[in-house]
């Protein structure tokens, strides 16, 4: 191989370091996307045995957003091999113990028992917050676009922006804006509806 071709080969198979911000993102959808970059599936020269996978650095794993009632209903099973050692840990408990585990398991599970997934997972770097390892930071050269757009929170918006927003109605100066009530537990309401339906 001549020098020109050798150098071209080097560039073709260079490992890219991607960054993904998991804030407000569904970890299960993100896991599928991240796995695609970890395997190198977006590359035209992809091959399962080509070692063309990339590194992905995931930040803000602590601020991940599970859909619906997944925080309460999703359980992670673990067995320590001896009898009676099976545990079922709900997602909220797993997240308080280790804020990175939910994201990690989401990526792992997205590979559905593929024999290469243990090797593929080694290129995944997860961080709970914005702080990254100072050795990794200079290597990053691409940002993976988030799947779900991050909404702006009203309580975190600057005051001038909130006040300058056009009013829907002209209210009196004495008018008292009531505080927002907490939405009732939709699940119990749904059960009630079902019971009423059955009675009928």
């Amino acid at each position: 191989m001549s020098a020109v071709k050798r150098v071209q080969q080097w560039a073709s198979f260079a490992r890219v370091w991607h960054l993904f911000d998991a804030r407000w993102q569904n970890p299960f959808d993100s896991g599928v996307l991240i796995a695609k970059y970890l395997k190198g599936l977006y590359k035209p020269l992809y091959g399962a045995q080509s070692l063309c996978g990339d590194h992905v650095v995931v930040i803000n794993c602590r601020h991940v957003a599970l859909p619906g009632n997944e925080w309460r209903k999703r359980v992670y099973f673990h067995h320590a091999t001896y009898p009676g050692s099976q545990t079922w840990t709900p997602a909220w408990e797993m997240h308080t113990r280790n804020p990175v585990m939910v994201m990690k398991k989401a990526v792992y599970t997205s590979m559905h028992g593929n024999l290469q997934r243990r090797h593929t997972m080694m290129r995944l770097h997860l961080f709970a917050d914005e702080e990254i390892d100072p050795e990794i930071a200079p290597r990053i050269s691409n940002v993976i676009k988030q799947i779900r757009p991050v909404p702006e929170r009203l309580d975190l918006m600057p005051e001038e922006k909130v006040k300058s927003f056009p009013q829907i109605a002209d209210l009196d100066k004495d008018y008292v804006i009531p505080e927002l009530k907490e939405y009732p537990n939709w699940e119990s309401k749904f059960r009630k509806m079902k019971k009423e339906g059955k009675k009928k």
């Binding site: 001549s2 020098a3 020109v4 071709k5 150098v7 071209q8 080097w10 560039a11 260079a14 490992r15 890219v16 370091w17 590194h55 050795e135 200079p138 290597r139 050269s141």
Partner: protein, 339 residues
């Protein structure tokens, strides 16, 4: 039933038809036989070393004269028989014959002593060298002399000529004392064949032969694989004043798989070329090589070499260029318009 029919039926019952089926399958004795032969071979090789593959000429139905004749005709050339035989006779083979004859007390004629391919080989090598120089200077007008010489040296290297020689089928016909001829022997024989051809035939046919077997080796890979200028960045900086190299992309800084991409621009911010590398320095050097390839017109988008029957240069055109070297790398004026 009539009496005649009954007789025929009785007779037909006595005739027994025997059907024989020939079965084509692997016999029971085949595997054990092969295993035994393999075991014996392994045992022998363990005690006495590996058994060398026998020479083709050692087998019974070897007709040297026919082989020589067929070799010449296979190449589509008219060789003088004596010269071709001489081309295949190595000097160590001649030496051995002379020694053996002296041992037996026989007289050795001058014909036998001078029958080696050394002289023919020298002639042939000179011819190949001249033609290759002429062709390269004619086909690659913008390539400086250093580049032409580099490509010429690679084409005339022993490995290259040996590869060509082997592909032509000289392996079984070469007369040497060594069991397997080495690269040098193959190269010598090839050069001697060219020498024999030049003496048997005219210059045009010899030139065509060299073009078709030596220069076609360039067609497989790009020409820039054969020549990479030394100190490319310094050369480029002196050729195009105001040239500027910038880091375009970088990947995995600090890792062993780090990759860098450098792009080169001229003083008017026109893109000239780019290169990759595992360090910034290597990337800049390869970028300079890329730009120089474009300047010398040996990059991947350059026109292919005139090796075909219609576009190949005539022997007169080659002759003109044989002794006229291309300008040196310091005298090259880069064609900025093409870039």
């Amino acid at each position: 039933m009539s009496f005649l029919v009954r007789c025929i039926l009785k007779e037909s019952r006595r005739i027994q038809t025997i059907t024989v089926h020939q079965q084509r399958n692997i016999k029971n004795w085949l595997a054990p036989t092969l295993k035994e032969l393999y075991r014996r071979k392994e045992e022998y090789e363990y005690l006495h070393g590996p058994i060398p593959t026998p020479k083709r000429s050692a087998f019974i139905e070897w007709n040297f004269g026919s082989e020589i004749y067929a070799f010449g005709k296979r190449l589509g050339e008219n060789f003088d028989d004596v010269l071709l035989r001489q081309a295949f006779t190595n000097s160590d083979y001649v030496r051995k014959i002379v020694e053996d004859q002296e041992k037996w007390g026989l007289e050795t004629s001058d014909l036998t002593k001078n029958n080696s391919n050394e002289e023919l080989s020298k002639e042939g090598r000179e011819l190949i060298s001249q033609y290759v120089f002429g062709f390269l200077r004619h086909a690659l007008k913008k390539l400086p002399e250093e580049g032409v010489k580099c490509i010429h040296d690679k084409l005339l290297a022993d490995e290259m000529l040996s590869h060509i020689s082997r592909s032509l089928g000289t392996k079984d016909i070469i007369l040497t004392t060594e069991h397997e001829p080495d690269d040098k022997t193959y190269a010598t024989v090839f050069c001697a064949i060219v020498g024999a051809l030049s003496r048997s035939s005219n210059a045009e046919r010899t030139g065509g032969f060299i073009r078709d077997f030596v220069l076609t080796q360039l067609a497989e890979n790009s020409i820039s694989d054969f020549y990479i200028p030394n100190k490319a960045w310094e050369t480029l900086a002196s050729l195009i004043p105001g040239v500027d190299a910038r880091l375009a992309n970088q990947e995995g800084q600090g890792t062993i798989m780090a990759a860098y991409r450098v792009a080169i621009f001229d003083s008017k911010k026109n893109f000239l070329g780019e290169g990759f590398g595992e360090t910034v320095k290597v990337a800049r050097e390869m970028a300079a090589v890329d730009v120089l390839n474009k300047v010398f017109e040996i990059d991947e988008s350059c026109s292919p070499l005139p090796l075909g029957p219609t576009d190949c240069p005539k022997i007169e055109e080659i002759g003109l260029k044989m002794n006229n070297p291309n300008p040196s790398i310091n005298e090259v004026v880069p064609n900025v318009v093409r870039l």
